[in-house]
Amino acid sequence: MASEPPGSRVPLGAEPASLFSRRTFIATATAVTVGGVAVASDVVPEPSPQATGAPVSGRVSLVVNGEGRTATIDNRTSLLDLLRERFGLTGTKKGCDAGACGACTVLVDGRRVNACLTLAVRLEGAEVTTIEGLAPGGDDELHPLQQAFIEQDAFQCGYCTPGQIMSGIGCIQEGHTRSPGEIREWMSGNICRCGCYVNIVKAVEQAAGTT
C-alpha cells in the first residue's frame, strides 16, 4: 500500500504515526520483536535526545502537601512515580498506570487528576495534595471524608481508597453531590474492585454535608 512519510510536525499532541514508524516490515520466517516492538531499523525519525545532547532530565520545584520540594528527575517520570519512588509517599497507588482506574488520583492546583498520566517535569511551581496531606494534624485528626470512609466502611482492601478519597474531595469541591446518582456518575473514574460503591457514595454524601 501507499505510505507517504509526512515527515512533518502536526498540532497538539498528535503526530502522523509513520513519523516514528518503520516503513517496511521485517518479514522473516520468525517473528522478530524488540521487547515486543517491531524494529525500527530503516527509519531514524529524529536524532534521539541523547544523540543531540538535549537533556532528558530536568529539575522541578513543586509543593507537595504544603512542603516545597526540588528534585532532578528523568523527564519520563510520572508524578505518581515521583511521589512513590522518590518522595516515599506511597499512599498514592498505581492500579493501571494508564488513566483507566483512578487509584492514583491526587489534587494538582486543587483539581483532581490522574498522577500516572501527569509528567512530573511539567509541575514546576504546582501544588500537589496527596492522601498523606489531608490530615497533617497527627494521629487524631482526619479529614471529614477520611472519617466518613471509616464510618461508612467505604472500602475493603483499601488499595483504591486514597484515590477514592482524593477524587471524592474533588467531587465535593466541584459540587457534584446533589444526589446519589450524581455522586455515582462523578465518582465513576475510581474503580473499586472490592465493590464498595454503595458505601463510597454514602461517605461522599456524608462528607459533602459537613464540608
Binding site: P11, N114, L119, R122
Partner: protein, 330 residues
C-alpha cells in the same frame, strides 16, 4: 518509554519555533503519555504548550462560540455559554472518560485523540496506522469496537472522541496556526478517514497548532443532546453515539444536525438523516424513517454487525429525545 527532551513554551511564536525544530506538542497529555508508555508514540522532543493563551471560551459575532484549544474538557463542559447554547457539547464531554481525565485533557487534544483499537495500542500487532504497510490485524481479529462506516481495506479503527461527534454535528471549524499563518478548516475536512494512508489522521500541515474550535452560529432556539450507548454506564468509550441538534419553527423542523460516534473512522455526519427531517413535523414515524438511513453505506466486520441496527436505534432514540425537547412529538 523512550527518553525525550522537554521544553515549555510561553508564547505562540515560541511554540511554532519549537514545533519547526521537530518538537511534539504536549497539551493535557492524557493520550500522549499513555501511548508513549506503550511505546506506540516515541517523540524525542516534547513541547509543553499548556501555558499558551489558548484557554478562553468566547462568543463570536452572530451567536457562535470559539473554544480555545487548551480549554480543559471539564471547563468547556461546565461553561455557562456552552451549557446554554449547545448542551450537546456539554453532554458529550461529560460522558467522556472520567472527571479526573476531563480535568487534564483539552479540547484540542480531544479531537486529535488516537484510536483505542487494541491492535494499534499493542506494538506487537500488525497495524497500518502505526506502521504503514504492516497490515491490519483488526480486520480479521476482534473488531467489535471498530468502524462500520468509513473504513478501508487498510484500517477500520474508530475515532474515539465524543465531543468531536458533537462538533461534527454542529459543523465546527478548527482554527490552526502554522508557519504560514492562521487558517480555518471544517472539522469534517480536518479529520481524515483512513483510505490508503491510515497513518494520516488529520489534514494538518507541518508545524501547525490547533488554536481553537469554533462552533458556528445556529438558529435559536436550538435543542440539542448527546446519547452515548455503551456496556458500562460510565468511564467507557462508545459502542454507538448520536449527537442531535434541532431547530423548529411553527412546529416544523427547519434545521437538523445529526452525527454519530463509535461507528466511524471519523465522527460521522448523517446528511441523509438530516435531509429527511428538514421541513417535516416531528413524529415517531419521522424519527424512525430518518434513523433508518443512519447506517447508509455501512460495511460491518465479523464482530460489529450489530452496530448497524444499534446505530439506527441510537439515532432514532436521540431524535425523539431532542425532538421532545424541541417542541414535542406528535
Amino acid at each position: 518509554m523512550h527518553p525525550f527532551s522537554y521544553t515549555k513554551v510561553s508564547d505562540l511564536a515560541g511554540a511554532l519555533a519549537a514545533g519547526r525544530r521537530g518538537g511534539r506538542y504536549l497539551a493535557g497529555g492524557t493520550m500522549l503519555v499513555d501511548l508513549m508508555r506503550e511505546s506506540v508514540e516515541r517523540p524525542s522532543v516534547l513541547v509543553d504548550i499548556s501555558a499558551l493563551p489558548l484557554g478562553e471560551i468566547t462568543a463570536t459575532a452572530g451567536g457562535g462560540l470559539r473554544i480555545g484549544a487548551l480549554v480543559r474538557m471539564a471547563e468547556a463542559a461546565a461553561h455557562p455559554s456552552v451549557r446554554a447554547a449547545f448542551p450537546v457539547i456539554s453532554q458529550a464531554l461529560e460522558s467522556s472518560a472520567s472527571a479526573q481525565l476531563r480535568n487534564m485533557a483539552t479540547i484540542g487534544g480531544n479531537i486529535m485523540q488516537r484510536t483505542r483499537c487494541p491492535y494499534f495500542r499493542d506494538v506487537t500487532a500488525a497495524c497500518n496506522k502505526r506502521e504503514p504497510g504492516a497490515g491490519c490485524a483488526a480486520l480479521g481479529g476482534f473488531n467489535r469496537a471498530h468502524a462500520i462506516l468509513g473504513a478501508s481495506e487498510h484500517c477500520a479503527a474508530t475515532h474515539p472522541s465524543d465531543v468531536a461527534v458533537a462538533f461534527a454535528a454542529l459543523e465546527a471549524n478548527v482554527h490552526l496556526l502554522g508557519p504560514d499563518g492562521e487558517r480555518s478548516v471544517a472539522l469534517a475536512d480536518f479529520l481524515l478517514p483512513p483510505g490508503g494512508t491510515p497513518q494520516r489522521e488529520q489534514a494538518a500541515r507541518p508545524g501547525e497548532l490547533i488554536t481553537a474550535v469554533e462552533i458556528p452560529a445556529h438558529p435559536r432556539p436550538l435543542r440539542s443532546g448527546y446519547l452515548k450507548v455503551r456496556d458500562r454506564q460510565s468511564y467507557e468509550f462508545a459502542l454507538t453515539s448520536a449527537a442531535v441538534a434541532l431547530h423548529l419553527r411553527d412546529g416544523v423542523i427547519h434545521q437538523a444536525k445529526v452525527a454519530a460516534g463509535g461507528v466511524g473512522t471519523v465522527p460521522w455526519k448523517l446528511p441523509a438523516v438530516e435531509r429527511l427531517l428538514i421541513g417535516e413535523r416531528p413524529s415517531q414515524a419521522l424519527w424512525a424513517e430518518a434513523a433508518e438511513r443512519a447506517a447508509d453505506g455501512a460495511r460491518p466486520l465479523e464482530h460489529n454487525r450489530f452496530k448497524i441496527e444499534l446505530l439506527k436505534r441510537t439515532v432514532e432514540r436521540q431524535l425523539r429525545v431532542v425532538g421532545d425537547l424541541a417542541g414535542g412529538t406528535a
